[in-house]
């Protein structure tokens, strides 16, 4: 039987939960003692881009050597990974074929046919993951009502695919028109393929993303097939390796999904494309968790790492979800230039501003920062690994926000001279000193993040000023106060372990799975028995997946939501859909109870309410359409629950390790000799005032003059902004 984190058999030995988040630049570890609710170790190692699993093992062994990690005491291991993102971005997935409806083999070449940069005549569209020579048409057709117009012939499919399989195709994506409504043909095709070509990876669109819109669905399914073998091998390999390192045989690795749920590795492998935003989702969850611990209902999470920053709005402890994202954007951060991936995903906006973002002069003589990044190799100039372009990290070093001898807890010495050389070179082109260039880079990066966060909030009709900014990621705490100032946000929260915080997100997340299915129609014409059948099927699937992670069926909470819009609109609002109580008998069997239940009227009024909240007013007269029915299944919250720390000394001065000159804009632009605090020495209740530098191994928080801060019971630094 699968092991559970909170299984009844608790021996006297401490129980440990480990999470690790393999990011593009660093792999972060968090180790929690489940009995005391304390984080007992945090760790960070550079990610080996060629073999991320090695970094996981390196970090694991470091923790074992430190004596923090005793593998036999682990009850929970959760893993977030960039494996899928990287495979898609670097196009290092399997040789993948697409089997699709006859007449539509070229469809994914068309995309949505929109220019994503109106002034670039030669902006390339994202190339499909299955090139044209690897597309096969199935003589089959289903109508908009799910009726079969042309029956599937399994023999035709197998015969058509055989040459491709013989030429080395390793994975097959199946995408038929209207399969979100009628999956039977895709199922039959999958069976025929599995029988004819054992061992080949198969993904079908009716399972991966049963949503209307063929380009998005087929692309998502193709990407799923593209990464499936890689994920199966990598996660299987990692799991084996960790068991070799002493992870008890009955414990298995669990995976962080893009929507913020956790799934058993076996479940994640079945639909691996859901791992696409694994790491960012973990980041959003830890922000949400620290928001809850601090008692804040509205949190704007800012996760700034080595190559990008991400912003996410969190309300009542939950990040919002989006139904789709774009992967591997050709035009860097330009919307429309990526492969659309229709999976439920934590709704965050990604910005090309990270510690490694490169600064340059554009053709108008203006200072630009990013989106190109020096990444981990060669890295910023100050890493001394051959980078010569000035980056955000170089600027932060020269401005005193970072120090040469305390980066990564002193394990990596930064080269100030190299940073200054790179900044001087750029400054010469701008007519600025190296110092003013550094100030400029810092400001421009802050502006990028603030502008993107503002737009993200506006799109949800939210006012960022009503939020607390919660900053993490390796670079986030150095920029947070300045970004908050631009957004007119009064409070900034620095969670403990900011540089490795996302890893903790893996542990505080509930096991959860999000499913969605399109069945479109006007509310007043919907066949409600059909909707119940859809939910029955989705609930069965979700419960099976969660019980596979060791969750008891009666501990699972099911929540239904549906996407609604005014007839003719192309943008939906997701509203709660109260499930009908089933005690009246089998769904759809009792005409009278269906009438009394009147879901269409309930949904119509709920839609009107949500619409008015978002857009200020509700339109009358236009009929309402439902498009996609959503189910969220969640296991119990809080498998890992951090305990409050003991109250300590309010006097923070004992934590001061020294001072250094730090550049601030206000009250007067210039350097201020600023106390440097060791975060590990700040106890609960400690109060400090800006200007201040608060260092922890993986991140440095910068408090500006006039800021006032206090450490809360969970080790988070809560800052009330002063004059910055």
């Amino acid at each position: 039987m699968p092991a559970t984190a909170s299984g009844p058999d608790r021996s006297t030995a401490p129980h440990l939960a480990l999470s690790f988040d393999v990011g593009g630049t660093f792999t972060d570890f968090t180790l929690v003692d489940l009995d005391t609710g304390q984080v007992v170790a945090e760790h960070k190692v550079p990610t080996d881009p060629n073999d991320p699993a090695t970094s996981s093992l390196t970090g694991w062994r470091d923790l074992v050597e430190r004596g923090a990690l005793r593998p036999d005491e682990l009850t929970l291991v959760v893993h977030a990974t960039t494996l899928v993102t990287n495979a898609v971005i670097e196009r290092k997935g399997a040789k993948t074929a697409l089997l699709t409806t006859a007449g539509f083999g070229d469809l994914i070449d068309f995309g949505r046919e929109q220019m994503y940069d109106i002034y670039d005549l030669f902006a390339p569209p994202p190339a499909p993951l299955a090139p044209r020579e690897r597309r096969v048409e199935a003589a089959e057709r289903v109508t908009r009502d799910g009726q079969v117009l042309r029956s599937l012939d399994p023999e035709q499919i197998v015969a058509s695919l055989r040459p491709l399989v013989e030429s080395g195709v390793e994975a097959i994506a199946i995408g038929f028109l209207h399969s979100y409504l009628a999956p039977e043909h895709e199922d039959a095709a999958a069976d025929a393929i599995a029988t004819a070509f054992p061992g080949i990876e198969i993904s079908r669109s009716s399972r991966v993303a049963p949503l209307i819109g063929e380009y998005e669905r087929f692309t998502t399914t193709t990407a799923d097939a593209y990464v499936k073998g890689k994920v199966r091998r990598a996660i299987g390999g990692l799991s084996d390796a960790l068991h070799n390192e002493g992870l008890p045989a009955e414990r298995d690795v669990q995976m962080m999904l893009s929507a913020g749920g956790i799934a058993a590795a076996s479940e994640a492998i079945e639909r691996p494309i859901r791992l696409l935003e694994s790491g960012p989702a973990a980041g959003a969850l830890v922000a949400a968790y620290h928001g809850v611990l601090a008692g804040r209902e509205r949190v704007l999470a800012l996760d700034m790492g080595g190559t990008t920053a991400k912003a996410c709005l969190i309300e009542e402890g939950r990040p919002g979800l989006a139904p789709m994202l774009e992967a591997a954007r050709v035009g860097r951060f330009k919307p429309g230039s990526g492969l659309p991936i229709a999976i439920p995903v934590v709704d965050l906006i990604e910005i090309g501003a990270g510690g490694g973002s490169i600064a340059r002069v554009d053709e108008l003589g203006l200072l630009k920062v990013g989106p190109d990044s020096a990444a981990a190799t060669p890295g910023p100039a100050c890493y001394g690994r051959g980078g010569t372009e000035p980056t955000v990290t170089d600027a932060n070093l020269v401005l005193g926000y970072l120090a040469a001898d305390s980066f990564l807890g002193g394990r990596m010495r930064l080269d100030v001279a190299a940073a200054e050389t790179a900044l001087t070179k750029l400054g010469d082109q701008l007519g600025l000193s190296a110092l003013d260039t550094a100030r400029g880079i810092h400001r421009v990066a802050n502006e990028h993040m603030a502008a993107a966060a503002r737009l993200h909030a506006i799109e949800k009709n939210r006012d960022p000023r009503r939020y607390s900014l919660l900053a993490f990621g390796g670079a986030g705490p150095a920029h947070a106060i300045a970004v908050a100032s631009l957004l007119d946000i009064d409070e900034v929260i620095f969670p403990p372990g900011a540089g490795v915080a996302a890893a903790l997100g893996c542990l505080v997340a509930a096991p959860a799975i999000d499913l969605a299915r399109t069945y479109a129609g006007r509310l007043d014409r919907i066949d409600w028995s059909r909707i119940e059948a859809i939910y029955d099927a989705m609930e069965d699937e979700a419960i099976a997946a969660l019980t596979a992670s060791g969750i008891a069926p009666d501990a699972i909470t099911l929540t239904r939501r549906v996407d609604l819009r005014l007839e003719g609109q192309y943008h939906e609002l997701t509203v709660p859909f109260e499930a009908r109580r089933r005690e009246g008998g089998k769904a759809g069997s009792d005409e009278e109870s269906l009438l009394a239940y009147s879901p269409s009227r309930l949904l119509a009024s709920s839609f009107a309410e949500h619409y008015a909240e978002r857009y200020g007013r509700m339109l009358t007269g236009l009929p309402i359409e439902a498009t996609t029915w959503r189910l969220e299944a969640r296991g119990p919250e809080g498998r890992v629950r951090l305990a409050p720390l003991p109250q300590g000394d309010a006097d923070a001065s004992r934590a001061i390790t020294g001072t250094r000159p730090v550049s601030f804009q206000r009250p007067e632009p210039g350097f201020v000799e600023t106390p440097v605090y060791d975060r590990a020495l700040l106890s609960v209740g400690a109060r400090l005032q800006g200007p201040a530098i608060v260092e922890e191994p993986a991140a440095t928080a910068v408090l500006h003059p006039g800021d006032e801060a206090e450490v809360n019971a969970y080790g988070a630094l809560i800052v009330r902004r002063g004059i910055s």
């Binding site: 007449g103 070449d109 949505r112 030669f122 108008l364 421009v444 943008h571 339109l619 236009l622």
Partner: protein
């Protein structure tokens, strides 16, 4: 709010010498126009805005000159927005404006060339003084008038003309004007909601501009405008100066209802300026709405030139200043105020081909061979249960090649619209799409090839007993997307009913209406391929 000249100079000087501050403010302005864009997209209800994204948002200075527009926008609106703002200023002087005023207009000669594009203009007040404007132009779903635009004989038949007017006075809507619009358009609720979305977007933009001015302690946008427009203008001037001085000529053919019509352009590059003179182009046409107003012609002239010359410079008024456009009044590119204009894309979309062809020798690595162009048609009729349907189908033709690239995919250039997915089209109509496939070999062949055209085949949903008609108005039925520098032309567009060429081999469509009588009838539309560049074998 009096600001001393001394202070003003110092602000301007400080900004123009500050590559950081300027970058930040410029990006902020673009971000604000993107916020406006997002507000429209989320709150509008019509498919033309929601799916095709046929709109744009801009921030302008107090003189009505453009400062920044939304990253995503219908390209031709970017010149139109300043144009109609300045026209509005002539009629409603700044001094007469009050906070809460909002202006409206769809005059095709001042705005975007046909009545469907409505401009909403909102003055931005800082301390009771107008410091600039926000402007949103969007394609409304209905403006009244006749359904078959190909038959229109003058603009009066094409729907409601809204002269420049005040839609809101100090926050109060002009109910007479609203009532007038409501009574004259087909889907008044949709139209008025879309207009409300534009008003809301302008408000968002205006508020953000005011807080930006406060943050930077700027009295108004004047200095900022001068600097930003100046930078963009200098970049454009530098790019023009790099083109050898001289006279370049180009030609393009428009497929008129009664025959071919020629567009002629004489491009004079003199030092840092370009003049495009369309003298010699065909006269305005009495029927079919394919006439371009001068504003629309200018917009379709500066847009492709901007793509060629300064594609990476944020667009604003400065980009337009070094470019002048001349067209004879009464010609198809400067039509008089009474003629029909609804289908002006049938003419305007050929201007870039003329310009690219003319400049092919001067800018061989930047021009693009002819594009297949967007093919849009509507499926109209009734479902078996009697409910009506009316669904647009858009698809882009093949793109032209560049010297360095084969044609890159399909899109609707010079429009920035997007297509309609097969499943969504089918869900909204009793039609089965049988095929959507590339037509190999239909892109122009050259050292680099044009993107091939593609075929779409449709028939009635079997057993549905629905009535199904298509309304088409295809381009490129007689004239191919031209290749450049010896590259081959793209294929023609074609229309078939049951494999019978609907132009009977002539390229002339007798009627824009196609009816599917039985379940076996198949309607086929083939979009044109793009042109190639260079002769085969010239590249490695």
């Amino acid at each position: 709010m009096s600001v001393s000249i001394q202070n003003r100079l110092s602000v301007a000087e400080a900004l123009s010498a500050d590559p950081v501050g300027l970058e930040i403010i410029w990006s902020r302005l673009i971000a604000i126009s993107d916020e406006m864009w997002s507000t429209v997209l989320r709150t509008a209800v019509s498919p033309i805005i929601g799916a095709a994204q046929d709109f744009a948002c801009e921030i302008l200075d107090a003189s009505g000159n453009g400062l920044a527009h939304s990253t995503r926008s219908m390209p031709v609106f970017n010149l139109v927005m300043p144009e109609i703002t300045r026209a509005m200023l002539k009629r409603f002087p700044t001094a007469s404006m009050r906070p809460g005023d909002v202006f409206i207009g769809n005059d095709p000669w001042l705005c975007a060339g046909h009545l469907n594009d409505i401009a909403i203009i909102t003055p931005i007040f800082r301390d009771e003084v107008v410091v600039g404007f926000t402007n949103t132009v969007a394609h409304t779903s209905s403006i009244g008038g006749m359904l078959d635009g190909m038959q229109a004989r003058d603009r009066y038949e094409e729907g409601l003309f809204i002269p420049l007017a005040k839609l809101y006075s100090e926050g109060k809507a002009d109910e007479t004007l609203v009532g007038m619009i409501e009574a004259n358009v087909r889907q008044p609720e949709m139209v008025l909601t879309d207009i409300a979305a534009q008003v809301a977007a302008n408000d968002v933009g205006a508020r953000r501009i005011v807080s930006l001015l406060h943050e930077y302690e700027l009295p108004d946008l004047t200095d900022l405008a001068q600097i930003l427009q100046g930078r963009a203008e200098s970049a454009m001037r530098r790019a023009i100066a790099a083109i050898p001085d001289g006279i370049y000529t180009g030609e393009s053919i428009v497929e008129g209802a009664s025959g071919d019509l020629v567009l002629r352009g004489t491009i004079t590059v003199a030092d840092e300026t370009i003049q495009v003179d369309y003298t010699g182009s065909a006269p305005e046409q009495p029927i079919g709405g394919i006439n371009c107003t001068l504003t629309y012609t200018r917009a379709h002239t500066v847009y492709p030139l901007k793509c060629l010359l300064t594609p990476n410079v944020p667009n604003n008024e400065g980009c337009f200043r070094p470019i002048s456009v001349v067209a004879k009044e009464g010609s198809i590119l400067n039509c008089r105020r009474t003629v029909s204009v609804n289908s002006r894309t049938r003419t305007g979309w050929h201007i870039h081909t003329l310009l690219f062809g003319a400049l092919a020798t001067a800018l061989p690595d930047r021009v693009q061979a002819g594009n297949g162009l967007m093919h849009a048609f509507h499926a109209v009729g009734t479902e078996s249960d009697g409910s009506p349907f009316n669904v647009p189908f858009f698809s882009g033709g093949g793109r032209g090649a560049g010297q360095q690239h084969h044609g890159l995919g399909h899109n609707c250039f010079p429009s920035s619209a997007s297509n309609i997915p097969v499943e969504i089209f089918e869900a909204r109509s009793p039609i089965v799409i049988e095929e959507r496939s590339l037509l190999d070999g239909t892109g122009g062949i050259g050292a680099t090839n044009g993107t091939p055209g593609h075929r779409v085949r449709m028939r009635r949903l079997p057993g549905s007993n629905a009535t199904v008609r298509f309304y088409v108005n295809h381009d490129r039925l007689r004239h191919r997307a031209p290749g450049l520098a010896g590259g081959g032309d793209g294929s023609l567009a074609r229309l078939y009913l049951n494999d019978v060429d609907l132009t009977a081999g002539t390229g002339h469509l007798q009627s824009g209406e196609i009816t599917l009588e039985t379940d076996d009838d198949v309607f086929t539309s083939e979009a044109a391929g793009g042109g190639g560049v260079g002769t085969v074998g010239a590249a490695d």
